[in-house]
Symmetry: C2
Subunit: 483 residues, 2 copies
């Protein structure tokens, strides 16, 4: 335990009732700790339907902006509009940064560009850029025109950096000091600046960057380290020189990897000349980590994006493409079956059992595929271990292939009274599970090398292969051994 | 820009060569910025195969512990053992916290429990607990026995908290001050403690907790706020009272949700009496966010865990169960087909086309399922919008069902020259896509209500439904209209 002995030092402190200023103090009251409840949502819906704007305003005013954003997302489109119209003048500007992109588009349409400019002007530059980025060029210009010059320049600079790079994530406000300063000078400078409001320090920050005369970062100092040291100590004597510096054009996935790999809380961002131009903090990186995982999950599920908040028609449209591509796969497989129509007419059991062979291959392949896609995303699967992983998946296919061949071969034999049919399905299962394992590991690796996102395209290729191989081997062997 | 005008203040600073102390300064040198390269791995493998232990030690000694852990993970099992045997005495104790669980188990076996006790003794309590947690009870006792009393007590207390709760995530070292202290007293206290080494402050921390005489948190102060204020200011005047307090038994998913929702960097943890007992910091939460996303991805892919580093046999075994469950699904579907053997013998085109109907349903259902599973995990899908979401998925099924019915109906008509067959497959596709949309949204919601993880079980139920409905409607209609 690392706190001073409090009991001995608090003679004049008031007795002990729980302070009314900290209602979240009660750990039993779960609702106040995390998010909003179903009841909160229903209360707002009731007020909206009763047309009681005052009640809606009161309820929303009590919420943290994140919770207010969640509340709005949980409403249907009509209620969303009504809530926003009733409350947009009392909402914290950060409310809009917490909204899902689809819902935010709606919100901009409802409150109008002028009101949006007022919101954007009050946000940190990185949040402002995030919101502006979703608008079209004409709308951007209108909003920017209503923002004070100094902020506008920073925001325009931010928008000039490529999407999904460090430049978009960074905060332009930061605390930098020259190498020869002392701890005391640094603290005085911070106090002085805060007092005279001469330049805007970020609201909350965690590290001070030490820079050389060319304004290149040479070290960082966590604030806690600054406070551990005496006033005359030089910052250059306590700075961490092994800090990680982020180039402004670094991909955001790389930034996220770096923060995770080094457990960073913030990192300096430099331009092409190596000069310090911003800081990235962990809260922005958490959003990136969330997004990347979300993207992987969505793409592997055959979606281009999370469409929870999209309108029905937009959702149907965005999903059509994936289903259309898969239809070709299915038609290809159907053509393979058509080759064996004659065999199926004679031994209809082949038609009964063939989906089992294809399906087992698909499931086993998806297992191998999921591991590979995820490991590529986390950089755990690289050129160094790719071949080993493919070989391992092939072996796993051999082992499970043999087990399921015995199992399913026995079932088929008993069901249709034909040991040969059991043999045919057993052999087909072994073959298809081996192919599924090899393909499941190879396809994502090959796609990544070809510069294609493995999460988005792997499963079409995999299903094509496991369906075609499954039907071909099973029906082919059936034709050869049973006719 | 928020830094003092440096150029005017640096007369005595040295000219301008890039400091040799900061080799990471060059943004072009990508390899030094993020992780290790394929070449690094190959160099170590070459040295291992040449039996050149000194070279291995030198190469590993140059790496950050996270990179050294990545390097080891990319080696095959034999090389892993050789690397660890050559280098375990020079590795940073934190190296072991960065290893994947499977690889860490191997590492414990290789270096032995005694060496492991030395490692654990040097770690922060939360990291020590993470490592001990993977050991069996007997091994835990052996390691704990070799750890100094004070640390051992903290670690044993930590192990007593339930897995996946705040108690396991929290750091036991923190900085707490009484309400009536001033900024100056707080800073002096930190300097004094650091100097006299009287109690162990955490290495790096971001917030100070202000506590009442009962040791209950009443506010937090970011260090940057402390530094913005003058020495005589009272901490109670600048503290944030709307902080979020985490009960020690809060589920780690809830903790992660809270940190994301409020963009927190650290939060105080309290016991059942509301007394401050620890702090959770964002780096631990990032790990949780990663894990949760990873779990969802793995489970939806039919895996119980990420088995990238597991041995082949262990991998095959862990995947068997999922495939076995899916085999029952496939057999159920096969039984449906078997009901219509007579029809298939007469119109073999039914056998050719039936996998298309089932497959389209499976793909469309997976889209609806993925959105629902993810939205449940992020708390975006709740009782408030569940019915609306199910209704929407049904409608999406109607729209895409009609489109693909027209498309595939036309193809079947042209292919087999039978307009009735086109009608049969069209109707079957509409029916199956509507069922798929409804089931894809309903199954995860129902499983979550029943207390089952929707990510793990949803897809088996879905495939069963889309296969059975697909085959039943298509073959049933075919029998009715074509015989």
């Amino acid at each position: 335990m690392t706190d001073p002995n409090l009991e001995n030092r608090t003679p004049e402190a008031p007795a002990s009732e729980p302070s009314p200023a900290t209602p979240q103090n009660n750990p039993e009251d779960d609702s106040s700790i995390v998010g909003i409840t179903h009841e909160d949502v229903n209360n707002v819906i009731d007020a909206l339907e009763a047309g009681d704007e005052n009640s809606v305003r009161e309820q929303v005013a009590d919420l943290h902006f994140s919770d207010a954003a969640d509340l709005m997302e949980r409403l249907g489109p009509d209620h969303r509009r009504a809530m926003l119209e009733a409350t947009h003048d009392i909402l914290d500007p950060e409310f809009f940064t917490e909204l899902d992109e689809t819902v935010r588009d709606e919100a901009v349409d409802i409150i109008g560009l002028e009101a949006m400019a007022g919101v954007v002007a009050e946000l940190d530059t990185d949040d402002a850029i995030e919101i502006l980025d979703d608008l079209d060029h004409h709308e951007q210009q209108q909003v920017l025109g209503a923002i004070p010059e100094a902020d506008r320049t920073l925001i325009e600079e931010g928008l000039a950096y490529a999407e999904y790079t460090a430049g978009r994530l960074m905060q332009r406000d930061f605390m930098a000091v020259p190498q020869f300063w002392t701890v005391g000078e640094t603290i005085d400078f911070m106090r002085h600046s805060a007092e005279h409001d001469e330049w805007s320090l970020p609201d909350v920050f965690y590290d001070i960057v030490v820079v050389d005369p060319k304004h290149k970062p040479v070290g960082t100092i966590p604030l806690s380290t600054l406070l551990h040291n005496k006033r005359p100590v030089r910052v250059s004597d306590i700075m961490h020189e092994e800090m990680k510096i982020v180039p402004v054009d670094m991909d955001q996935e790389e930034v996220a990897f770096l923060f995770r790999q080094r457990d960073l809380v913030s990192a300096p961002v430099v331009n092409a000349d190596g000069r310090l131009i911003g800081m990235i903090t962990i809260d922005d990186v958490v959003d990136v980590i969330d997004e990347e995982a979300e993207d992987d999950i969505m793409r592997m599920g055959g979606l281009t994006e999370d469409d929870l908040y999209s309108a029905t028609l937009a959702t149907a449209k965005s999903r059509f493409t994936w289903l259309f591509v898969n239809l070709f796969t299915a038609l290809l497989a159907a053509n393979v079956i058509a080759l064996f129509q004659h065999s199926i007419e004679k031994v209809v059991a082949l038609a009964v059992l063939m989906p089992i062979v294809a399906g087992m291959g698909g499931n086993a392949g998806t297992q191998a595929l999921t591991v590979a896609v995820r490991a590529l995303a986390t950089k755990e699967l690289t050129a160094s271990n790719a071949l080993r992983q493919i070989g391992k998946e092939g072996l796993v296919g051999v082992i499970n292939g043999i087990l399921f061949a015995l199992l399913m071969g026995g079932v088929a034999w008993l069901w249709f009274g034909s040991p040969t049919l059991g043999l045919v399905i057993g052999l087909a299962i072994v073959a298809n599970l081996i192919v599924a394992g090899l393909a499941g590991a190879t396809i994502p690796i090959a796609l990544q090398r070809a510069g294609v996102d493995p999460a988005i395209a792997s499963s079409v290729f995999l299903t094509t292969i496991t369906d075609v191989v499954g039907f071909l081997v099973f029906l082919g062997l059936g034709t050869a051994l049973l006719m």
